[in-house]
C-alpha cells in the first residue's frame, strides 16, 4: 500500500525540486518533512483499508465458497471452486437481468442527459426571475432523499386515487380511471425511470448550465450574423464546449443507473418484486442477502463490480488526470 511505503527524503526533494543544495546538511529534518504527506494520508488509508479492503478481499474469497447462514455462524466457508460462477452464469435470470439492466440504463441515462441539457439551454433563454425560480426548484428536487421520493411517487401513481391517473384523465389523454401502473414489468420499470430521471435531472442541468457560461458569446453572435440557425449553433459552437462535461455526466449516470438499488427495490417492492422485473442492484441484493446465499451473491457482486469498473474507466482516467495536474 502507498501509505506504508516510506520514501527517502532525496527522492521527494528531487520530485518537488524544493530543496536547494546548501540546505543539504539538514538531512534529518528534510526526511521528516518528506514523510509529512504520508502521515497525512495515513488515517484515510487506514480507515479505507480496514473497512473496505478486507470486505473487498472477502468478496473475492466468498465468491469461491459455499457460504450460507450455517457458514456465517461458524465463520468458515467451504471452498467450492467455480461452482458459484457456474451456477450464476448458467442461470437465465442473470442474463435476463443483465440485459434488462442494460436497456434500463441506456433509457435512463439518455433521458436524463437529453432532458437535463435541454433544461440547461432553457435556463439561458428565460428571464432572470424565472431562472432563479427554476434553479430553486431544481435544488429542491435534488435535495429530496430517495426513500422520500419513492413514497411520494408511489402515492402519486397509486391506482385508486393517485393524482397521475386523475391528471391524465382530465387532460383527455384517455381513460386512466383506476389504471394500475404496476401491472406490467414495462410499466413498473417506466415508473422507476420516471422517478430516477426526475431525481437526476437537477445535477445534470445545473452542471451543464455552468458549462454553458464557458461558451464564448462572440462565437455565438458571429455564427448568428453568418445566418446559422439555433440547431447549427448548438452543434458547431455550444456542443464542442460542452462535450467534456457531457462525457463526465454520462459516465457518472451510467455507473449510478446500472447499480441503482433504492428506487426499484422500494417502488416495485411496494407492489410485487420478482425475477421478471429485477435490475442488477435488486438481483444481487435478493439472491445474496435476502436468500442468505452469500457465496453466490458474492459471485454476482464480483461480476457486477467488474462491469461497473469497466464502465467507469473513462471517468476515472479523466478525473485522475485532473487531480494529478493540480
Amino acid at each position: 500500500m502507498t501509505s506504508s511505503h516510506v520514501p527517502d527524503g532525496a527522492a521527494i526533494a528531487a520530485e518537488t525540486g524544493a530543496i536547494r543544495p546548501r540546505r543539504r546538511r539538514r538531512r534529518g529534518a528534510r526526511a521528516a518533512r518528506g514523510s509529512v504527506p504520508y502521515l497525512l494520508i495515513l488515517p484515510v488509508a487506514a480507515v479505507i483499508g480496514a473497512i473496505l479492503g478486507y470486505p473487498l478481499y472477502k468478496l473475492v474469497t466468498l465468491a469461491f465458497q459455499q457460504y450460507g447462514l450455517p457458514e456465517l455462524i461458524q465463520r468458515e466457508g467451504v471452498w467450492i471452486g467455480l461452482e458459484n460462477f457456474e451456477s450464476v452464469l448458467r442461470d437465465s435470470v442473470f442474463w435476463d437481468t443483465l440485459l434488462r439492466t442494460a436497456v434500463f440504463t441506456v433509457a435512463n441515462v439518455s433521458l436524463t442527459i437529453v432532458i437535463g441539457t435541454l433544461l440547461a439551454l432553457l435556463l439561458v433563454k428565460v428571464s432572470t426571475w424565472v431562472r432563479i425560480l427554476l434553479t430553486a426548484g431544481l435544488v429542491l428536487v435534488w435535495a429530496m432523499p430517495a426513500v422520500v421520493a419513492v413514497q411520494v411517487f408511489f402515492w402519486m401513481t397509486n391506482f385508486q386515487n393517485g393524482i397521475l391517473n386523475y391528471a391524465l384523465t382530465q387532460l383527455r389523454l384517455g381513460d386512466f380511471f383506476q389504471h394500475d401502473w404496476y401491472a406490467t414489468t414495462f410499466s413498473k420499470l417506466a415508473m422507476v425511470t420516471l422517478l430516477i430521471v426526475w431525481g437526476a435531472i437537477p445535477f445534470v442541468t445545473i452542471t451543464v448550465y455552468a458549462g454553458l457560461s464557458q461558451v464564448p458569446r462572440e462565437l455565438v453572435e458571429a455564427a448568428e450574423i453568418d445566418g446559422a440557425g439555433p440547431l447549427r449553433i448548438f452543434r458547431d459552437v455550444t456542443f464542442p464546449v460542452l462535450k467534456p462535461i457531457l462525457l463526465i455526466l454520462t459516465s457518472l449516470s451510467i455507473i449510478w443507473d446500472f447499480g441503482v438499488f433504492t428506487q426499484p427495490y422500494l417502488l416495485i417492492g411496494a407492489s410485487h418484486l420478482d425475477t421478471s422485473n429485477y435490475l442488477m442492484g435488486v438481483y444481487v441484493f435478493i439472491e445474496g442477502y435476502a436468500h442468505s446465499d452469500f457465496g453466490r451473491g458474492a459471485a454476482i457482486s464480483l461480476l457486477m463490480v467488474v462491469i461497473v469498473a469497466a464502465l467507469s474507466v473513462p471517468y476515472v482516467r479523466r478525473m485522475v488526470r485532473m487531480g494529478d495536474a493540480a
Binding site: P145, V148, V152, T207, A210, V284, V305
Partner: protein
C-alpha cells in the same frame, strides 16, 4: 409579429433616410425578442411546476384531512388543513428512536470523516509524493463502487466482528464511502487558496503548522462547512446499508423507518406517510439549499473551469 409588419410599410413609404428603417428594424427585432423571451418564460414556468409538483403534493397531502385525500377529485390545497397526520406519524412506534439514530450516525460520520479527510486533502493539494497518483485512483475508484455489490461482503465482515445491528457498524461503513468524496472536494477548496498567503506567513516566522492554523484553516472554513453538510445529507439519506446492517426496529435510521411505513397499497395511511416523508426530508432540504452552490461541482470540478 403582426405589429411588426404594420410598422414596416410606413417606414418604407417615406423617402428612406437611412436611420428610420434601421430604427424600425430595431424596434421590430426588440419586439420579437421580447415575445420570444415571454414564450421561453412560460415554458420555464411550466417546467418549474412539473418539476416541483411531487414536493408540493407531498406537503399538500400531509396537511389534508382524510376525506380529501381519498376523494376521487383531488383538491390542490386543503381549505381545512390539519396537523393530525403529523401527530400520527410522530406517534408511530420508533419514530423518535429513528430520529435519534439518524442524528447519532450522522454526527459521528461528519466528525470523523471531515477531520480524517482534511488531512489527506492537504497532502493531495500541497505535496507531490510518490504514490500520489495511486492514492487518487484509489479515491475515485471507491467513489465508483456500486453499493449494492458490496452489501454482502460488508455484511459478512461486520457479522464476523459482531458489528451488525450496531450504529457504530453503520457509521463506519458510511465514513468509508464518504471519505473519498470528502477528500476530493476538500482538495478542491484547498487548491483555491493562493500559496503566497501561506508562504508570507512562514516568512513572518510561523512554522508550517502555525501558518496552517492561522492562514489556511480560516480560509478553508467555508469549504469545511460545505463538505460537512454534504456528508451530513448523504449519510442521512443513505438507505441500502442502513437497511442491511440495522435489523432491530429500535436501531433503524429515519430512511429505513420510513421505508417500512406503508402497509399494503390498499390500506396505506397516505396522510401520515406524506407527513412522515415531509419530516424526513426537512433537515436535508434546508441544509442542501444552504450549501448546494458551493459544492455542486465537486464531482465534475476541472471539467467546468471558471
Amino acid at each position: 409579429m403582426t405589429s411588426a409588419t404594420e410598422t414596416a410599410p410606413a417606414a418604407q413609404a417615406t423617402v428612406r433616410p437611412v436611420a428610420i428603417p434601421r430604427r424600425a428594424a430595431l424596434v421590430r427585432r426588440e419586439r420579437r425578442r421580447r415575445a420570444r423571451r415571454a414564450a421561453w418564460n412560460v415554458l420555464g414556468l411550466a417546467v418549474f411546476l412539473v418539476l416541483v409538483f411531487p414536493v408540493f403534493w407531498m406537503i399538500s397531502t400531509a396537511f389534508k384531512p382524510d376525506d380529501e385525500i381519498v376523494s376521487f377529485t383531488p383538491t390542490w390545497f386543503s381549505l381545512d388543513p390539519t396537523l393530525e397526520h403529523f401527530r400520527n406519524a410522530i406517534d408511530r412506534p420508533f419514530f423518535w428512536d429513528a430520529v435519534r439514530n439518524s442524528l447519532l450516525v450522522v454526527a459521528a460520520v461528519v466528525a470523523v470523516s471531515i477531520v480524517v479527510a482534511f488531512l489527506a486533502a492537504v497532502a493531495l493539494a500541497k505535496y507531490r509524493f510518490t504514490g500520489r497518483k495511486l492514492f487518487i485512483v484509489l479515491m475515485i475508484g471507491i467513489l465508483m463502487l456500486p453499493a449494492a455489490g458490496l452489501v454482502i461482503p460488508l455484511y459478512v465482515v461486520l457479522a464476523r466482528y459482531g458489528m451488525t445491528n450496531t450504529l457504530t457498524g453503520l457509521a463506519a461503513v458510511h465514513v468509508t464511502f464518504l471519505l473519498p468524496f470528502a477528500v476530493w472536494t476538500l482538495r478542491g477548496f484547498i487548491i483555491g487558496i493562493p500559496r503566497e498567503l501561506e508562504e508570507a506567513a512562514m516568512v513572518d516566522g510561523s512554522s508550517r503548522v502555525g501558518a496552517f492554523v492561522r492562514i489556511l484553516l480560516p480560509l478553508v472554513m467555508p469549504g469545511l462547512v460545505a463538505t460537512s453538510v454534504f456528508v451530513f445529507i448523504t449519510s442521512w439519506n443513505e438507505y441500502i446499508f442502513a437497511n442491511v446492517i440495522l435489523s432491530d426496529q429500535s436501531n433503524h435510521t429515519l430512511t429505513v423507518w420510513l421505508s417500512y411505513f406503508y402497509g399494503t397499497s390498499r390500506n396505506t395511511d397516505w396522510g401520515a406517510l406524506m407527513a412522515a416523508s415531509t419530516l424526513t426530508a426537512i433537515p436535508v432540504v434546508i441544509f442542501f439549499l444552504l450549501v448546494q452552490r458551493k459544492i455542486a461541482f465537486g464531482l465534475t470540478a476541472g471539467a467546468v473551469k471558471g
